[in-house]
Symmetry: C2
Subunit: 117 residues, 2 copies
C-alpha cells in the first residue's frame, strides 16, 4: 500500500526539458500514485516547454510569471492564477516572458512512459 508523503520541491531532482524549461517530477508511480502525476516546472525568462503533441492531457496552474501558451493555431496570454486544460492530441507549448512557475499534471501512464517503471 502506498504511504503518505510530505516533501519540498527542492528535495526533487531538476531535469532540463527541450526548450529550456526545467522540471521536477514531484509525485509519480514510484511513490505509489496510480492515476496521475504532479510536476513542478520552471520556465526561465524567454524559455519554453517542449513544442509537441501527445495523446494524453495536461492540467496546468500558473503560479507565477507571464507569457503565453500556444494551443494548435491559437495563442493565449498567461498570467499568475491562470489555469490551462490541454486535451490529448492538441499541439502546445508555453513560452515565458518573465520567469514562470507552473504545476502540470499528467496521467500516470505518461509518467511511466517518460520516466520508466
Amino acid at each position: 500500500m502506498a504511504k503518505p508523503l510530505v516533501k519540498s520541491y527542492i528535495d526533487i531532482k531538476e531535469m532540463e526539458m527541450e526548450g529550456g524549461a526545467r522540471i521536477r517530477w514531484l509525485i509519480t508511480h514510484k511513490d505509489g500514485a496510480e492515476n496521475y502525476s504532479m510536476r513542478y516546472i520552471r520556465i526561465d525568462e524567454n524559455k519554453e516547454t517542449p513544442a509537441h503533441k501527445h495523446p494524453y492531457e495536461h492540467e496546468i496552474f500558473v503560479m507565477s510569471g507571464t507569457g503565453y501558451v500556444v494551443l494548435d493555431n491559437e495563442t493565449v496570454k498567461l498570467k499568475p492564477y491562470d489555469f490551462i486544460f490541454i486535451p490529448g492530441n492538441v499541439f502546445h507549448k508555453i513560452h515565458s516572458n518573465t520567469t514562470m512557475e507552473i504545476i502540470c499534471v499528467v496521467p500516470i501512464s505518461a509518467a511511466k512512459e517518460l520516466l520508466g517503471d
Copy 2:
C-alpha cells in the same frame, strides 16, 4: 472531443468546505477531463480542510502560507513549495497558521461524485 481551456481561477465560483476552507474546481469532467480534476483551495488563517478519509488519493502543492497536515496519526508542518501525496483511505486534514493556497488534484471519479455528472 474536449476543447482546450485557458481561464483565471477568479472565473470559477468559490464554494465553502467543511472546516472553513474555500474551493474552486478549476478543471473537471464538465470541461472534458477524463482522468483527474484540478482544484484551487484557499485556507484562511486558522481554518481547515475537511477532516476525513475516502478511497481516493490527493496530490497537493502548497503555493503559499504555513500550517500543518494531519495524516492518520502523524502531523507534519507545511510551508510554501511543499507537496503532499495522500493515498486513499488515509485520514487527513490541513490546518493553516497563515493563509494557505494549495492546488489539490483528485481522480475524476471523485469530481463526479462530489459535483454530479
